[in-house]
């Protein structure tokens, strides 16, 4: 996709919308076709009535909202609620494609260096009861970004993407850091506008200047760092009281207002009468019940107290195996969560005393050793932990998440990677595509020979950590242990260990893990956001610095490993430099990714695909691979009749066609 084409496309979309508005109907999100064709009424396709007051649930221990201030939080548990309270520049549709929201058209004419957004009129801020407070204008995005980048106002939250992409953002952040707290809190946007690459020539125009060519910058517009904030609200509450404001004090511009918030019990979102998108189909209320005990959702679904439930393993089995069960025909598979899970090696593992674990480190640096695991893991049983009905639906062969990026001919980036790795892009069997026992045995024998010569003792001990109270993770680890240990007798010994509260603080920080499974979800729409995390000697590379510790490996001790990393880093950096031709950029990234995987520097592990009972058509939800909009309760197709397995198979077929 070229930047110019984006602009054309968006203009076309805007025109369609205008027409649609005049016609008094039709799709307001034109690319929307996953069973979400009706507007306003959003009639369900399975014969039921749309639900007016939906009740959903979350786990209170880990998913309760802590902060109502969208610019001030980076946590999904806050953003999942707050995305309903604010109006963004752009939105995402159910296919993962950017759609106009407050910005009606947008684009860049200089390969992603300058981005212009045209904003619609008639968007307003309201209080919790829906009473008008102010108009939402381009100035509110300037205020919002100033708040984010002001160290004393926002304490560094949400700064990473703006600092990396917007001209002058880092300098302004450093500038405010030097100021006294009181002085920084009192800053208005004058100095900010001087320093940072943002301007609003009029109330309907917003221009960002990037610090480098960022052909993907518009995808950032769905993230919390580029959300609006009204100066009038700051004036009303006082600059010191912004952090800590309540749902009753804050202002709303999104589809809902948060009318009730009872911590660890219940939140109620009520339709915002002044919401700009009059064609959107919204619920009258959305109730989110918080559960201290997460396996209650099945029970609540049965008694009709919630409209969706995830199925616990034993319950799923019981329903699946009993043909006469009332829910037997209603088992539906969720769409994959947006995370691509990898098994990351730690190349600089330490023991509990802080000394290097030489045995493991030497083994992990050996390519044959890594490849024996890469090819030797038959993960079917592990995937069956999440999805015992179709384990291979959890199969992941690539590093980047599928469904995030597309070539201009519509090919999924990830399919290209899989193709180049030499696997079929769809799995028609129920066997894993990568698993190859013969290859694994070959690499294993070579590894044993080479490593024995280097003084490595077998079995190699592999420490794997799980959260103590998470029984599902422990079960999965037990299965994984069995899978890895069956690569060879006396080859690898997996030690399952536990941590109490924090993986980073207790395990990966002190470098105690041998391998760790971690899922990465995109922050913005570019392969750089995935592969950039694995670069050698790069400060921004998350996994290199925090999981694999490749930067701490002594080059003299593992020359091959470092050489491989350097080669990969060069390939990825070359790809990042291509900004004028997106296809060429993606192809270069595909090559880098294939190189990375063929040397088994990480091992693609799984997607999360689980089963549920539901009254919601998941294919009508926003499919936000990046940004914070996944949980926006807008244009959902729901039905008083539960969806059936057949309904969902139909949705999937429609979706893929």
């Amino acid at each position: 996709m070229k930047a110019k084409r984006i602009k054309m496309l968006s203009l076309a979309l805007a025109a369609t919308m205008l027409l649609a508005a005049c016609g008094g109907g039709g799709g307001k999100t034109p690319a929307n076709n996953g069973g979400n064709s009706g507007s306003g009424s959003n009639a369900p396709s399975n014969g039921g009535e749309p639900i007016k007051e939906i009740v959903l649930w979350e786990a209170s221990g880990t998913r309760e909202l802590e902060n109502f201030f969208i610019q001030n939080t980076e946590q999904a548990k806050d953003l999942n609620v707050l995305c309903n309270a604010y109006a963004p520049l752009l939105e995402i549709d159910n296919k993962g494609v950017l759609q106009p929201a407050v910005a009606t058209e947008w684009g860049s004419e200089d390969d992603g260096l300058t981005w212009t957004f045209k904003l619609r009129d008639g968007v307003t801020w309201v209080d919790v009861n829906g009473n008008y407070k102010a108009d939402l204008t381009a100035q509110d995005w300037v205020t919002g970004l100033e708040w984010v980048l002001n160290y004393h106002k926002n304490a560094g939250n949400n700064t990473s993407m703006p600092i990396a992409m917007i001209a002058g953002a880092g300098e302004y952040y450093e500038y405010t850091k030097e100021l006294e707290a009181a002085e920084a809190m009192a800053l208005d946007t004058t100095k900010f506008l001087e320093m940072v690459g943002i301007e609003s020539p009029d109330k309907n125009t917003l221009i960002y200047h990037c610090s480098k060519n960022a052909p993907y910058f518009d995808t950032v517009a769905t993230s919390a760092c580029l959300y609006p904030l009204s100066q009038a609200l700051i004036d009303e509450l006082g600059v010191d009281n912004m952090v800590g404001m309540s749902n009753e004090q804050m202002w709303y511009s999104g589809p809902y207002t948060i009318t009730s918030y009872i911590m660890n019990n219940e939140k109620v979102l009520t339709k915002n009468p002044a919401y700009w998108d009059k064609d959107a189909s919204l619920f009258d209320t959305v109730t989110i019940r918080m559960m201290g005990d997460t396996n209650l959702d099945d029970q609540l679904y049965e008694t009709g107290e919630v409209d969706q439930c995830d199925l616990e393993e034993s319950n799923l089995r019981a329903i699946y195996e009993d043909e006469n069960h009332e829910f037997h025909d209603q088992l539906v598979e969720k769409r994959p969560r947006k995370y691509s899970y990898q098994m990351h090696f730690n190349f600089n593992k330490l023991d509990a005393q802080g000394n290097p674990d030489v045995n493991w480190n030497t083994a992990a640096a050996n390519e044959n050793f890594r490849k024996s695991i890469y090819y030797g893991m038959d993960l079917t049983a592990r995937w069956a932990r999440d999805n015992f009905i179709y384990p291979t639906h959890c199969e992941n062969l690539a590093y980047t998440m599928k469904g995030l990026l597309y070539f201009s001919d519509g090919t999924d980036y990830v399919d290209k990677v899989i193709e180049q790795l030499g696997y079929p892009t769809t799995n028609t069997t129920d066997a894993p595509r990568r698993y190859d026992a013969n290859k694994a045995a070959e690499y294993r024998d070579k590894a044993i020979e080479e490593l024995t010569a280097q003084g490595v003792t077998f079995p190699v001990e592999m420490d794997y950590y799980v959260l103590a109270r998470n029984q599902a993770a422990q079960d999965a680890a037990t299965v994984l242990q069995n899978i890895i240990e069956s690569i060879g007798d006396n080859y690898i010994k997996v030690n399952i260990k536990t941590y109490v509260a924090s993986l980073t603080k207790e395990v990966t920080g002190p470098q105690l893990h041998s391998v760790n499974n971690s899922g990465w979800g995109a922050d913005y729409g570019d392969p750089e956001n995935f592969l950039g995390q694995e670069l050698y000697q790069d400060d921004g590379a998350y996994y290199s610095n925090k999981y694999s510790y490749i930067n701490k490996v002594d080059e003299a001790e593992a020359p091959e490993l470092i050489a491989t990393y350097k080669e990969f880093t060069e390939m990825a950096k070359a790809a990042a430099a291509i900004c004028d031709d997106m296809d060429a950029r993606y192809q270069a990234y595909v090559d880098a990714e294939v190189y990375f995987l063929e040397h088994a520097l990480t091992i693609p592990f799984n997607y999360e695909v689980v089963w549920q009972l539901t009254h919601v058509n998941d294919y009508s939800k926003m499919e936000a691979m990046y940004g914070c909009q996944t949980y926006t309760y807008k244009n959902w197709e729901t039905s008083t009749e539960a969806y059936t397995t057949a309904d969902y198979e139909g949705f999937l077929a429609d979706f893929n066609s």
Binding site: S60, G61, E66, N67, F69, N72, T73, E74, Q75, A155, G156, S160, K177, A181, N241, V243, G244, M245, S246, I262, M263, N264, N265, E266, R289, M290, M291, G292, D293, L296, Q299, L300, T303, E305, A501, S502, L503, T504, K505, G509, Y542, K546
Partner: protein, 316 residues
């Protein structure tokens, strides 16, 4: 008496202060890393982390932090919550929750007293007969089955058989409180029945009761005028504290029924390193505990005029 009360209160204040200090110091033993969320630990550089810690005053000498903390305590200011409800004063966080816990707890306690004490009396009066055995079986069973199991059974029975809501709801506080109150009161009933029976049986073996019997007093009269009255004295001591401490909620029951109360607050706050909330909770619990003991002594004195508080130790 007044002098004694003042002395007691001052001592109590000291205890609370020491508890607050100890908890303060204990919490400072946690590594500073716990101050940050998972994401922040990874994303922030060492320099940025230090800056934020310094901004929060956590890098100051421990004595200075402690003095600041005492300063806040004097003004009843426990600071702001950092992770439970970002930026909201701790007192507000707590005050939003304790009413729920207290309502459930007090209801459960009243039920327990109303059923448990009569049950104990019934048992004592029919010692070694059928009612006694039934009561004992109940107390033994309740004590024997871990709450994790008994709560699960109550939950399933209540939700599936009786159709009661299995989650607490502020919109229907009445009906949705039934199951949590049932869970809480089951154990307390057993507790009060057990101790009522025990104290009464102890009392019944005393010489003056034998004398009363020999005198020809009716059994009923003996029970009400002597045994019960005297057996109630040791029981009464703990009742005020029990009432006050309902504020702290029940960790397990509240988590089970997702009650928006104090129960899970403390563990949540610890695991999220929300130090101000932890300290606030602990100081409040300690204060209530100490007041409870004091009131217990007063209550005992009312029931048993022989007991004189003056000159007695704090613990009994």
């Amino acid at each position: 008496m007044i002098k004694y009360t003042i002395k007691r209160l001052l001592q109590s204040l000291l205890t609370v202060l020491v508890v607050a200090t100890i908890v303060f110091l204990l919490l400072r033993m946690l590594p500073n890393e716990y101050y940050f969320t998972e994401d922040q630990v990874n994303k922030l550089s060492e320099e940025e982390k230090n800056e934020r810690l310094r901004a929060a005053g956590l890098l100051d000498p421990i004595g200075e932090q402690l003095l600041r903390y005492y300063g806040g305590l004097v003004r009843f200011d426990f600071g702001d919550s950092r992770r439970i409800q970002t930026g909201v004063p701790v007192l507000k966080v707590i005050s939003e929750r304790f009413m729920v816990s207290m309502r459930l707890g007090v209801s459960a306690l009243l039920i327990a007293l109303a059923i448990g004490i009569p049950l104990g009396i019934l048992q004592a009066m029919n010692k070694d007969k059928i009612p006694d055995h039934i009561g004992t079986a109940y107390t033994v069973f309740i004590n024997a089955v871990p709450p994790l199991v008994s709560y699960s059974l109550i939950l399933v029975f209540g939700a599936h058989v009786l159709g009661l809501p299995s989650l607490y709801s502020t919109r229907r506080p009445g009906i949705s409180s039934i199951l949590p109150i049932a869970c809480l009161s089951l154990a307390s009933i057993a507790h009060y029945a057990l101790w009522t029976r025990r104290y009464m049986v102890d009392e019944m073996n005393k010489d003056y009761i034998r004398l009363a019997r020999i005198k020809g007093m009716s059994n009923r009269n003996i029970m009400i005028r002597h045994v019960l009255k005297n057996a109630f004295v040791p029981l009464a001591q703990y009742i005020p504290a029990s009432f006050l401490l309902t504020i702290s909620g029940s960790l397990l029951a509240e988590r089970f029924f997702s009650t928006p109360g104090m129960g899970p607050l403390l563990t949540d706050a610890i695991s999220r390193y929300d130090l101000n909330v932890v300290q606030g909770c602990v100081v409040i619990y300690a204060t209530l505990g100490v007041i409870g003991v004091f009131l217990g002594d007063v209550l005992m004195m009312i029931f048993d005029p022989r007991i004189r508080l003056v000159g007695k130790g704090e613990t009994r």
